[in-house]
């Protein structure tokens, strides 16, 4: 009986994968504010904030770099992604199918789903560090890649199962969960940081900045970690969600928005989550470093538990889940676009299992900054393609959504753009030593130039054939 009800509920989950979202299902900006604030005040924040400390970002560089980078991220959502989303009201994957063709979209979706799985996996791992507190599991180090303990794997499997179950229930459930948890999580981040400040010698507001410069963000990286400057911080803050804004993954989210201005609600996620939460978690990590005499061990759960007790541990668990849930959901959409007649919940379930397996590896957490930068970079060229296809191609007399109009399985202009852009980024990285955090910006312009040039080349050659003119 219960199984029948659950199955009926799952069968009724309707996410409009292959049709525009109807007006009756549009959501106000408040839904997005809750979702963004929840999603970006999340498990990653417990890792990224400390990693800035580990990489020796100075206090001034961090405060200014985060401000500028987050502003650029909000503007990217509002002016690049949301306007296209509310005009088209279809998923990223369906849009790509129209532009790039079915086969290329399958390739993109596989890469995308894999990246989403790794990201969600890292968040499941973060939650598991808190779940593992009562079991006294040895902490992983910043340099660890492989799981070090069998009980760690068991805990990750448990956390991953719960996360997957929630994600299978669809966007409505994810949004509701994030809306309830998000205001509380934000306050826990803030409260935990305030409560530990006296341990850093801060007993008045005037003490904060000197302590920030000398004890928290000292400008000196930990052993084996590279040095971060203002530019690292700014570009990381801008591009850490590059796949979502410039890469257009959030077309799938903003297609539910009443107006493109909902794109500005991303500021809730950026300035609360990617600003105050990163600063707060950095403070918590500085206290841990002070107590452990710069130990390389790193586990967000015990760090939060030390600062805020059981509440801190629960916050890490829930923070991990609110990031992992929408990410698994997105990965499910990516895979479903490959198998269009499959049920959303079944696909999400399979994706969740793959994610849980990936979560067993601590490398996902320890190298999160590099992974997040890579993830944005790999998916970015498709965002540039969508942007140019939507705004520029028709004005230049070229056909937008060319694969659909020409009946192509692969739009070679898009395929070439994707491959050659990444090759160009790799070349810049190897030849000029430009770090991965900075490659997104030149990469976007390379993608734009390539797609324009290749579209002109391929479309002209097809139009010359009578049957396709």
């Amino acid at each position: 009986m219960i199984l029948d009800k659950l199955t009926a509920r799952l069968e009724s989950v309707q996410e409009f994968e292959k049709e525009p979202v109807p007006a009756s299902r549009h959501k106000s900006w408040r839904s997005f504010l809750g979702m963004y604030a929840g999603e970006h005040t999340a498990g990653t924040e417990f890792v990224i904030g400390p990693l800035f400390v580990a990489h020796g970002a100075s206090a001034g560089d961090l405060v200014l770099g985060l401000f500028a980078g987050n502003l650029l991220a909000v503007l990217s959502w509002a002016f690049l992604c949301a306007p296209i989303a509310v005009k088209e009201r279809i998923t990223l994957y369906y849009k790509l199918e129209k532009i790039c063709g079915k086969n290329l979209t399958i390739g993109y979706n596989l890469v995308n789903a894999l990246m989403f799985c790794f990201l969600a996996g890292s968040m499941i791992a973060v939650s598991a560090t808190a779940v593992g507190i009562p079991f006294d599991i040895p902490l992983a180090k910043l340099t660890d890649w492989l799981p070090g303990h069998f009980s760690w794997i068991l805990i990750v499997l448990g956390v991953g199962s719960v996360t997957t179950l929630v994600a299978t229930l669809g966007y409505e459930q994810v949004s509701r969960f994030a809306n309830i948890a998000s205001p509380w999580m934000i306050l826990v981040f803030l409260a935990a940081a305030i409560a530990v400040l006296p341990e850093l010698g801060v007993t008045s507001i005037a003490d904060f900045w000197p302590a920030a410069e000398s004890k928290i963000w000292t400008g000196v990286p930990l052993a084996g970690q590279s040095k971060f400057t203002f530019w690292h911080v700014m570009f990381f803050a801008w591009f850490c969600n590059m796949a979502m804004h410039i890469g257009m993954a959030d077309l799938s989210i903003f297609r539910y928005a009443r107006s493109w201005k909902a794109g500005f609600t991303s500021a809730g996620g950026m300035y609360v989550g990617h600003y105050f939460a990163w600063l707060a978690s950095g403070i918590l990590y500085a206290v841990f470093l002070q107590k452990s005499q710069n130990s390389l061990e790193f586990a967000p759960g015990p760090i939060a538990y030390y600062a805020a007790g059981i509440t801190g541990a629960f916050c890490v668990i829930i923070a991990g889940l609110t990031t992992a849930n929408p990410t698994i959901y997105r990965a499910g959409l990516a895979v479903q676009a490959i198998i269009p007649h499959s049920k959303t919940w079944k696909v999400t379930l399979i994706v969740g299992l793959a994610t849980t397996t990936a979560a067993c590896f601590p490398a996902l957490v320890m190298r999160l900054l590099d992974f997040v930068a890579l993830y944005g970079l790999v998916l970015m060229p498709m965002g540039a393609i969508i942007f140019i296809d939507f705004y520029l191609l028709p004005k230049l007399g070229l056909k937008s959504e060319y694969a659909e109009k020409a009946g192509l399985k692969i739009n070679w202009a898009a395929a070439g753009t994707w491959v050659f852009t990444l090759a160009a980024c790799l070349f810049i990285n190897f030849s000029f030593g430009v770090e991965i955090f900075f490659l997104g910006l030149p990469g976007w312009f390379v993608a734009v130039a390539l797609y324009l040039g290749l579209s002109f080349l391929f479309q002209q050659s097809k139009i010359e054939k009578p049957g396709l003119s």
Binding site: N179, I180, P183, W184, L187, V188, L190, A191, A192, I194, A195, L197, P198, V202, T203, A308, G309, I310, T311, G312, F314
Partner: protein
């Protein structure tokens, strides 16, 4: 009346999450007391918050 009560309890949960940490910073309470109050705040928020948010909508 019920709606107001649920709202007060839910917001008390958030207040108990944040305010005690300010008191720790001011040296008025211990970190242990702070942790207990934060846990109480968490329970209040997750039991009352969903009802409050649903009613507010």
């Amino acid at each position: 009346m019920k709606r107001i009560l649920v709202g007060i309890l839910a917001l008390s949960g958030l207040a108990l999450t944040l305010i005690p940490s300010v008191l720790v910073f001011a040296g008025a309470i211990s970190t242990q007391t702070n942790k207990v109050l934060m846990a109480a705040g968490m329970l209040l928020w997750f039991t009352m918050g969903p009802f409050w948010i649903r009613r507010a909508k």
